[in-house]
Amino acid sequence: MASNTQPAVVYAALKEQAVQNRDKLFEKPLIMIGAATCGRAAGALKLVEEIKNELNRLQLEANVVEVGCMGHCYAEPIMVIYNEGFPPMAYGNVNEGVGARIVRDYLTDGDPGYEFALVALEPNDFFPTFSDFPRGVHENKIVLDQCGFIDPQNIEHYIATGGYSALVKVLEADPGEIIETVKASGLRGRGGAGFPTGLKWETCRNAGGSPKYLICNADEGDPGAFMDRTILESTPHSLLEGMTIAGRAVGSEKGYIYIRAEYPLAVERITQAVQQAREKGLLGENILGTDFSFNIEIFQGSGAFVCGEETALLASMEGRAGIPTHKPPFPADAGLWGKPTVINNVKSFSYVPHIMNNGADWFKSIGTEKNPGTAIFALAGKIENTGLVEVPMSTTLNELIFEVGGGIAGGKQFKAVQIGGPSGGCMPESALETPIDFDSLTEAGAMMGSGGMVVLDEDDCMVEIARYFLDFTQKESCGKCTFCRLGTKHMLDILERITKGQGRPEDIDLLMELAARVKEGSLCNLGKTAPNPVLSTIRHFRDEYDAHINEGRCPSLMCKDLIAYYILPDKCERSCDACVGSCPVEAIFSNEDRIKVIDQEKCVKCDSCKVACPPQYAAVVKLSPPSEVAAREQGEGVK
């Protein structure tokens, strides 16, 4: 039997070597390129290739490393250069041409290319750093700290920065102590419900039955959410370390990561990470020479949103259809194969190494008493700086959207923010001072969810938004229980009717009645939360529903059936034919004054003419209800 006293010694050797190898990277200029999914979508892989070519052409020596995402997705592709003479610099929106030029100027002439730089990564006298901007002031990165700064494909980068030291600590500790620390830290599950993580672990530890299982729920599927994906792609080992610690705490030797197959890069990264951790003896049999063994297997989900619900997730892992079952029993008592099972989100597990290293009090010092720690949000929609942010709990929505996120894109007016995805709710401007935490958001009629945040502006119709999210949940309903299967279907039919201008005055009451029953009667949380977007939009934007139903008017000019395109005669330039040429159905003609007019019978409302009309004229407008066109034509004497 292996001795239990040596993990620190074994780890020290691993770390020494990791540091040595990593330091070698800095012997030459180091170029890091963000190549997570967001970076790749913006062309990061082409950039990597071009940088390598450029280095070749110039006969320059430098190390090029693909890293994950540092959260500033709006500025992808992002490139970081460590070179002597200046602090490390991060550049944003680097296309191949710009990238090659920065490398050329910086590495040959010592010009760090300020004009392309986002920030410097270390305090200095030359150039601002993240903390010189509001976002940097608000952000407090714990889980995301290493994202975008280490090579996710190289375990030594993680080890060199102290990775797996928390595991070493707990290998020497009593499992009960680990649970006590997590309980004392007040960590709440980041999957959405906010259940105390320590309590879940304790229940599982005390539950009869063995083996015990650990599952990481990485079936992230909310529209606009990409927190878990980014963590898996950028710092996969923090998840593995957190899971291994949890395994030790609850007495489990087997963990699974349930990850959706639609995340191929994340699957690749985490699979590779598991392999490397095994090779280093940080995972598998007799971890770091102790008698503790823990294995992790990757399980790929097949694309059903409902499999993020834990009982459906278990069913799908056991080879049955991914359909929820009644709780209790809860997985902590009877989960996978009927055995006690802890199911936690990627983020929840990823906090654990930090809590073990820094202590429960440190974690509690961030955020609020009942909601300690940070909140990780994926900012999406009509926000200036889309990306991934990590702020202390209790940061207000206002701070998050306008200071961290840089406000609304294109100078438009803020209208609402949808938090918690299709299960959450819309919050209007009046709710912007709401602090972000599990309890305050629930109280305000939304929910924390797993961290998706979609910002909506004046051009977004709230009835259409409600319809969109309900369409999503209705299609993702498994169909098992009456309320979700039929209730969401009826609700969707009503919303579709309203967005087409066929709403009836009694529809809103019917919607609210159905919503209340579906919430109360559904079997699982998909159904129980599906009505939330409808209820919150009715609550805060009732006037938009009324305009659709009573006047056939869409105030945001978004619902296609309720708008018509119109060319303002006094703005039309007359000799310009841009709109005529852009129309795919030949609906635009010149009248005898050579003013362009749209034949409403032919128009398919494709928006092409509005886009084509030169901005200095901006003659094409949308009107609602469509009957406005005839009234305007008459008033303005258009023939």
Partner: protein, 213 residues
């Protein structure tokens, strides 16, 4: 036999086997609770029809009686404003998706939906909701059995009966509103390997599967 416990249902003191599901205890004591999907001798209850809600003292929301295990001192009301509203809503939803043709239906007179409507004074024809008819073809390809999926309430009893018969021809397919009881590969019953035992028809509470006259 397990330990006996004393519980109160609608003010009535009842002695019941500990751990038994309340639904069966109530039915054994002549207290009717609407239900479609649960079966007494099956180990797991689907809890999918959502009609057997009851109120339990000390619990914030109504609970399906088919999942409520009986314990000493349990106090339950099978009727309350909240329960009635919820059951009525669930029933109306089901009826909005059930092709209503009692006069010509082989289940007429022994239909569980009719029984529920009578017991709870509910309408068979939905009042507020439009009818969502699936418009699926009726399958009479197997000798002795007619299957009208448009009447099906997806309780799953036929599937379990088919499995108990040793045939396992029927199962659920598709998701959401499209969910339907079907054979493997959606073959007509007559080509599916169905043995024609008609256990499914015996099990069906609503006349979606019936024995051919």
């Amino acid at each position: 036999m397990g330990k006996q416990v004393t519980i109160t249902v609608d003010g009535k003191t009842i002695s019941a086997g500990e751990g038994e599901m309340l639904l069966w205890t109530a039915l054994d004591n002549d207290i009717y609770i609407p239900h479609l999907c649960s079966e007494r001798n099956e180990k797991e209850t689907p809890a999918s029809c959502r009609l057997c809600f009851v109120e339990v003292a000390g619990r914030p929301a109504p609970v399906p009686a088919c999942t409520l295990s009986v314990s000493e001192g349990l106090v339950v009301k099978t009727r309350s404003e909240r329960v009635d509203a919820l059951v009525a809503a669930g029933f109306e939803l089901l009826m909005s998706n059930h092709r209503l043709d009692c006069k010509n239906c082989p289940a007429n007179g022994k239909c569980e939906l009719q029984r529920i409507a009578k017991a709870r004074k509910l309408r068979l024809k939905p009042k507020n909701l439009p009818i969502l008819d699936k418009g699926l073809p009726v399958d009479d390809s197997a000798p002795g059995i007619v299957y009208d999926p448009n009447k099906c309430v997806l309780c799953g009893r036929c599937i379990r009966a088919c499995r108990r018969s040793g045939n396992s021809i029927l199962g659920f397919t598709s998701r959401g509103f499209e969910r339907v009881v079907a054979t493997f590969g959606d073959l007509p019953l007559g080509e599916s390997g169905c043995q024609g035992c008609s256990d499914c028809a015996e099990a069906c509470p609503v006349g979606a599967l019936s024995k051919q006259a």
